[in-house]
């Protein structure tokens, strides 16, 4: 079993993408007889072994992956300081609408946001494999319908769409007025200091 555990570990580290238990089982079973239960067990064992380490096996939409524990983010932030991509509000709003209302057309997104959807945002989302076309709506023009992908969930460390924050139900005026003021100002400060420095 410890032999299989070591193979599972090396596979998770070198596959370049999350692996499902099924997939790991299929890969290993082709050379060494094992059951899917064995695989799941070894993953548990790995996590026990990792207890004192700074890495962990986590489960996301497309399967298992190994990642650094957040306890060492301070160190990793030094390495990644300049590399973290930033996404605009427009992109995040577009992505959110697709995530909660999927499948949606560009028209749907536009009617909610009140502005036209920029092609570059849709391209960024598609290039990142966060959204994909799942079909064409049967209305004039046959607009493409978009949904989010497992890669989108993986990126946010989620297993299922239901783990996304609840879509707020804003009916009460108090809900609406609560938090915008300070946040907006913060945002302005953040943006300006960013762009002006």
């Amino acid at each position: 079993m410890s032999e299989i555990k070591n193979i599972v570990e090396a596979l998770l580290l070198s596959s370049g993408e999350p692996l499902s238990a099924d997939r790991i089982h299929k890969i290993i079973n082709s050379k060494k007889s094992c059951t899917k239960a064995d695989i799941l067990e070894t993953i548990d064992e790995l996590n026990i072994e990792y207890n004192e380490k700074e890495i962990e096996v986590t489960r996301v939409a497309s399967g298992f992956r190994i990642q650094a524990k957040s306890s060492i983010n301070d160190f990793l932030n030094i390495i990644y300081a300049e590399k973290t991509p930033r996404y605009s509000r427009a992109l995040m709003e577009t992505l959110s609408i697709i995530a909660y209302k999927q499948p949606v057309t560009r028209g749907d997104i536009e009617s909610i946001r009140g502005v036209s959807v920029s092609s570059s945002i849709m391209r960024t989302l598609t290039d990142r494999n966060w959204i994909k076309i799942v079909g064409y709506k049967d209305v004039p023009g046959k607009p493409a319908m978009f949904s989010t992908t497992n890669e989108f969930l993986d990126y946010f460390g989620l297993e299922k769409l239901t783990e996304l924050p609840d879509l707020p139900d804003i009916k009460e005026p108090e809900n609406l007025n609560l938090d915008l003021e300070p946040e907006t100002l913060n945002e302005v400060t953040a943006v300006s200091s960013d762009q002006l420095n």
Binding site: G16, F156, L167, L180
Partner: protein
């Protein structure tokens, strides 16, 4: 020269009459250094975002928007954007027109209690609330842990491993679907007309080009495969005509009733004499 103030405002911006004159100073409620002002205005994600900001800033009830007041402020802001020469999306102007329309409806005398759905503001309120839901949740999503910022993936190099070179496989149906997509897109360009041409002519054109390629002249009759049925000969002939039309080949006859030769109009680069 600047008679803008006296001139009646152009029809493109009827709502500017509300203001009466061009905005020359910042709205009183803005206490932001001028450098940051442009950034601030650019930060709005559209008319709904701007309206929500105006409503919340004054703790107004979104379900009971004082439309005249909001309209005035909204117009102030978009005038300011125009003054700063920000590219003003058409949606902002559309919203201004919508606000003006709601305002005029609200001015009509009310004879009886207004039902909720009869409130001219109802559609605007619905859109504002709907947009607000996604605006709020997108901020929450933005704060979720994410790869490259809060989650760092662990990976081992595969330096010992020579990745096999696998070429993608495609199915014939993929090709057909791709061409259907092309046609669908091309339909949008009205100038492009697709006629269903017999493929065999196309194919024959390629074959002929290949046959001629490399040699100076080819006898016209050599292009024909006489073992083919009549239809094959016709197809070849059509292909020759098509190639002539496309200025790809030239058909020459030195003398009357002499041998007809066919030559490439453009030779392969390697053969080019000049």
């Amino acid at each position: 020269m600047d008679k803008n103030i006296d001139k009646p405002i152009q029809a493109e911006m009827p709502f500017a009459i509300v203001q009466g004159e061009q905005l020359t100073e910042l709205p009183k409620d803005l206490y932001i250094p001028p450098v940051a002002l442009q950034v601030f205005l650019e930060a709005f994600e559209g008319p709904l975002d701007l309206l929500l900001y105006l409503i919340k800033k004054q703790n107004l009830d979104v379900l009971d928007i004082p439309i005249a007041e909001i309209t005035e402020q909204y117009v102030d802001y978009i005038n300011l954007m125009k003054d700063l020469e920000l590219s003003l999306a058409g949606e902002y102007l559309l919203m201004a027109a919508m606000l003006a329309e709601i305002k005029s409806k609200m001015l009509l005398p009310i004879f009886e209690e207004i039902e909720d759905e009869d409130d001219p503001r109802a559609e605007l309120v619905r859109r504002l609330l709907e947009y607000e839901r996604y605006r709020v949740v997108s901020e929450e999503i933005d704060h979720l842990n994410r790869v490259e910022r809060d989650i760092y993936l662990s990976a081992a190099e595969t330096g010992n491993y020579q990745q096999p070179d696998i070429l993608p496989d495609i199915e014939l149906s993929d090709l057909v679907i791709a061409f259907k997509e092309v046609l669908k897109k091309a339909e949008m360009f009205s100038t492009l007309h697709f006629m269903k041409e017999p493929l065999s002519v196309k194919e024959r054109m390629s074959e002929i080009l290949e046959k001629i390629n490399g040699s100076d002249f080819v006898k016209f009759e050599d292009l024909f495969e006489f073992s083919e049925q009549k239809i094959g000969l016709v197809v070849t002939f059509l292909a020759v005509l098509e190639l002539m039309k496309e200025l790809l080949i030239e058909v020459v006859q030195a003398q009357e009733f002499g041998i007809i030769h066919v030559k490439m109009l453009v030779e392969k680069e390697t053969h080019e004499r000049n």
